[in-house]
């Protein structure tokens, strides 16, 4: 059992302040939607949580562990926004991509070939891509590719799944299926999910917590609280900063 704590996070690119005084605690099993206008620092915050960027001030902890230790232990699954830059020409089948997920987590799994095959099949089944198992990932649609990337992240058996705009560039129906999948994974597997999204309405439907960011933290609370102050919050993150 663990919680993710962001304490007084500040981040700046040179002198351009991107995040200011962000503090929050994400409980185990939460599904947090991080919303905010373009350039608000949502992706930067996710990268700090993933340990890809070091805050200019502040600290991220998973339970009692610093983020750098949690990374090494394979506790975090990460699906970046722009993974697609290499995907189109990448000569790998869906099975090969999902099995890469085992590189991310417990290496002991790899010693047992049968267990490895079972985990890969299970992950593909879980996200609904098992029928494409022998297809090259570049031949799939954007929504299907996103599912494959989620399956890869899940194969490492993470306790925290970080997703940066998982539905960007994906049509309406495929987006709805991705949100549904993430909701199911969160509820059934108990994985803590933090998802950056530009689609506030869909995101808050599947999340139980919402963080509204616009350099600083404009709102942090349950989606019910967010819905209650929806109009005010929407105004805040569209028109401030």
């Amino acid at each position: 059992m663990f919680e993710i704590t962001l304490s007084d996070i500040n981040f700046a690119y040179d002198h351009n302040v991107v995040l200011q005084d962000i503090s929050m605690t994400i409980d185990k099993g939460d599904f947090l939607a991080v919303v905010g206008p373009n350039g608000a620092g949502k992706s930067t915050m996710l990268k700090i949580m993933a340990g890809l960027l070091t805050p200019t001030h502040g600290q991220v902890k998973i339970g009692e562990k610093d983020i750098s230790i949690a990374r090494v232990q394979g506790l975090i699954g990460y699906v970046p926004q722009n993974y697609g830059k290499n995907i189109l020409g990448f000569p790998a089948t869906v099975t090969e991509i999902v099995s890469l997920g085992l590189t991310l987590g417990a290496s002991s799994i790899r010693k047992n070939h049968q267990a490895t095959k079972h985990i890969i099949s299970h992950m593909m089944e879980l996200v609904g891509v098992e029928k494409f198992r022998d297809r090259r990932i570049g031949e799939l649609s954007g929504g299907q590719q996103q599912r494959v990337m989620v399956a890869m992240a899940l194969a490492s058996n993470p306790e925290l799944l970080l997703l940066d705009e998982p539905t960007s560039g994906i049509d309406y129906e495929a987006s709805a299926r991705i949100y549904e999948l993430l909701g199911t994974l969160n509820k059934n597997l108990g994985i803590t999910v933090v998802m950056v999204s530009h689609d506030i309405d869909k995101a808050i439907n599947c999340a139980n917590k919402v963080a509204c960011i616009n350099k600083g933290l404009c709102f942090y609370g349950s989606n019910k609280e967010f819905n209650a102050t929806h109009a005010q919050a929407r105004h805040l993150w569209y028109y401030t900063g």
């Binding site: 990374r71 990460y78 699906v79 290499n86 000569p91 790998a92 590189t103 090259r136 490492s156």
Partner: protein, 284 residues
């Protein structure tokens, strides 16, 4: 196969096949990392090392090894700094290598025959010592790639995902760059820059046309590469042409033949679908 009776042909086949196995394995990652010209870039730096070594009075291959390793580290550092312009760093080092080679060779008046053997290779003149060197270094390269295969593949797919998983991407990228340099410099001294760079890329490009998975693409690339060496060396013997050229041109012809076959198969499938559709409409 009368020509197999000659010792020099047997040694050439052995050296060629070892090169043909190692180069596409490295090339499979190089192509997807969009660094297809790295063999050429490093080759030209090695070329500068050869001429520099000659100028300083040290064994040219040692000069090539030292300068190519420095170049490999430099290329990786520039790639890391400007990831979206990976080819830009290559170009800078490519031209620097060529310029240094020209300067050093002009200063020392190095004989052009020696330079040409490094550029186009002398696979026909390889000794058993040469074969031991490339077999030994090839085995080390293949063993490292085998051990790091999944990590290399993941880094090639997305460095951020690999970083979040706690993989030391900087170290592995640097190691890969050094491995590539080792393949180029060792291969260059035995079979020439042209052959090493070409076998790193062309068979991989041909295998990509088959639209297989990553491991299958690598396997197919090795098969195309070995075939190119076997056919190219045989053709070179009977046509009395330099083997480096015949091997590379065989690899190129395989690429062209595979590309045309793919197009023809695609067109036939399209026509098949169109005619069955027309037939169905007429029946209705």
């Amino acid at each position: 196969m009368e020509f197999f009776q000659y010792d020099f042909i047997q040694r050439a086949f052995l050296a060629g096949i070892i090169t043909a196995i190692v180069c596409p394995v490295i090339g499979s990652f190089v192509v997807v990392r969009r660094q297809s010209l790295i063999g050429d870039g490093l080759g030209h730096i090695a070329f500068a090392g050869v001429t520099g070594g000659y100028m300083l009075g040290i064994y040219p291959a040692v000069g090539a090894f030292v300068l190519t390793m420095i170049g490999a580290v430099g290329i990786e550092l520039v790639r890391r700094k400007h990831a979206q312009f990976a080819d830009m760093g290559l170009a800078i080092f490519f031209y620097s290598g060529l310029a240094m080679a020209i300067i050093f060779s002009t200063i020392t008046r190095m004989p052009s025959a020696g330079l040409l053997s490094f550029l186009f290779g002398s696979i026909i003149t390889v000794s058993m010592t040469d074969i031991s060197i490339i077999a030994g270094s090839g085995t080390i390269v293949l063993a490292i790639v085998y051990l790091l295969f999944d990590k290399l593949m993941l880094i090639t797919l997305d460095e951020d995902i690999a970083n979040v998983a706690g993989i030391n991407t900087s170290m592995i990228n640097m190691l890969f760059s050094i491995l590539t340099a080792a393949v180029v410099v060792v291969g260059m001294t035995v079979v020439g820059v042209l052959l090493v760079s070409a076998l790193m890329i062309i068979p991989v490009a041909t295998a990509h046309l088959l639209r297989l998975g990553f491991k299958a693409t690598m396997g197919a690339a090795v098969a195309f590469s070995v075939l190119s060496v076997a056919i190219g060396l045989t053709a070179s013997f009977y046509l009395d042409i330099a083997p480096g050229g015949t091997i590379v041109m065989t690899a190129v012809l395989m690429y062209v033949a595979t590309a045309i076959s793919r197009e023809v198969i695609g067109l036939r499938a399209k026509w098949g679908r169109a005619s069955s559709l027309t037939g169905n409409q007429e029946n209705n």
